[in-house]
């Protein structure tokens, strides 16, 4: 079953809701090793996205995702603005003029998002960042699809891998971002960026699974 613009809109709505729900938790994680604004920043960014969505509802998937990215860039004042903004813009560029996506397109969009985050943040795996949640999620998604799982099921496995990836940042030494200034004191805390990435993948998995149940 192809993913349509409507599904993308549902995903963004679910993403805004899950970020809002976990806003205080994300900010508390950021207070431990950053500047205590991650939850509040992302909540502001995604509510601005919700306000913009009606203006692009009749456009292609690429335009919706690029608009999402630009809105996040212009409303989020912390590092997550340029990082998630670039991720959504790159995913949108990978899906320019498209009104439907196949399972493979979802993988390609997530890979474009990951490449955008890596290019912007110059982070590699193991450095206690969003990459540590998103990279294993894409691997799990690829594996599950290759095993013949439906997109919704495969994304559930991807979301679980992202959550495990976020938890795995706890013993890591931060090498990028504000947390890296803490040095060894960054060890023992879960990375807020990896955590919000896991929530966004959970929102994506919930949206696609629900579509399959309805269909």
């Amino acid at each position: 079953m192809p993913v349509t613009v409507e599904h993308v809109t549902h995903f963004l709505t679910a993403a805004a809701a899950i970020i809002h729900e976990h806003r205080d938790e994300l900010t508390a994680l950021d207070a431990a090793i950053g500047d205590a604004d991650h939850g509040a920043n992302l909540d502001r960014g995604f509510s601005a996205v919700l306000n913009r969505l009606p203006t692009v509802a009749d456009k292609d998937i690429g335009t919706v995702l690029k608009t999402t990215g630009m809105t996040i860039v212009s409303t989020v004042g912390g590092a997550s603005g340029p990082l998630y903004g670039t991720a959504f813009v790159r995913a949108g560029m990978a899906l320019a003029d498209r009104h439907e996506m196949s399972d493979e397109d979802v993988v390609l969009a997530l890979e474009a998002a990951l490449e955008g985050i890596i290019a912007r943040g110059k982070a590699q795996r193991g450095e206690k960042t969003m990459v540590d949640a998103l990279a294993p999620a894409i691997e799990a998604l690829r594996t599950a699809l290759a095993e013949g799982r439906s997109l919704g099921r495969a994304l559930q496995q991807a979301a679980a891998a992202a959550e495990a990836g976020a938890k795995a940042t706890i013993p890591m030494l931060a090498m990028k971002g504000r947390a890296s200034y803490l040095g060894e004191r960054s060890i023992g805390h879960q990375d807020p960026g990896a955590t919000s990435t896991a929530y966004l993948l959970r929102a994506l998995a919930m949206t696609c699974s629900r579509n399959e149940e309805v269909a």
Partner: protein, 130 residues
Amino acid sequence: MIGLLIVSHSARLAEGVQEFVGQISGGQIPIIAAGGASDGSLGTSVERILAGLEQLRSTDGILALVDLGSAVMSVETALEQFSGPPVHISNAPLVEGAYLAAIEASSSTATLEHVAAAALQARELIKVYE
């Protein structure tokens, strides 16, 4: 003429550096402050940075001096939407780097490379002689 763009998470800190550095260059060189998030709270704003770059469009080059964290990424994101004179993001500490950059930029023959190199010398600046 080389321009300086001061990017800080704090709008007041960016304006303070602009004021401080503007004094030693005697208003000879364009210095623009682009601090704070879009709503003025602590953070960096691609929109504010882009507006600052636009104000420096008529220069021959722009040296961006930044504080921490997202400042670099926000400037890089803004640069993807800016097609003006060349821009270099300095690895120098904000205050000292801006100070040395302004002194160098006050020379009418200074290029962006000269100003960028002068700012980097701030990394080796000795303040306290033991």
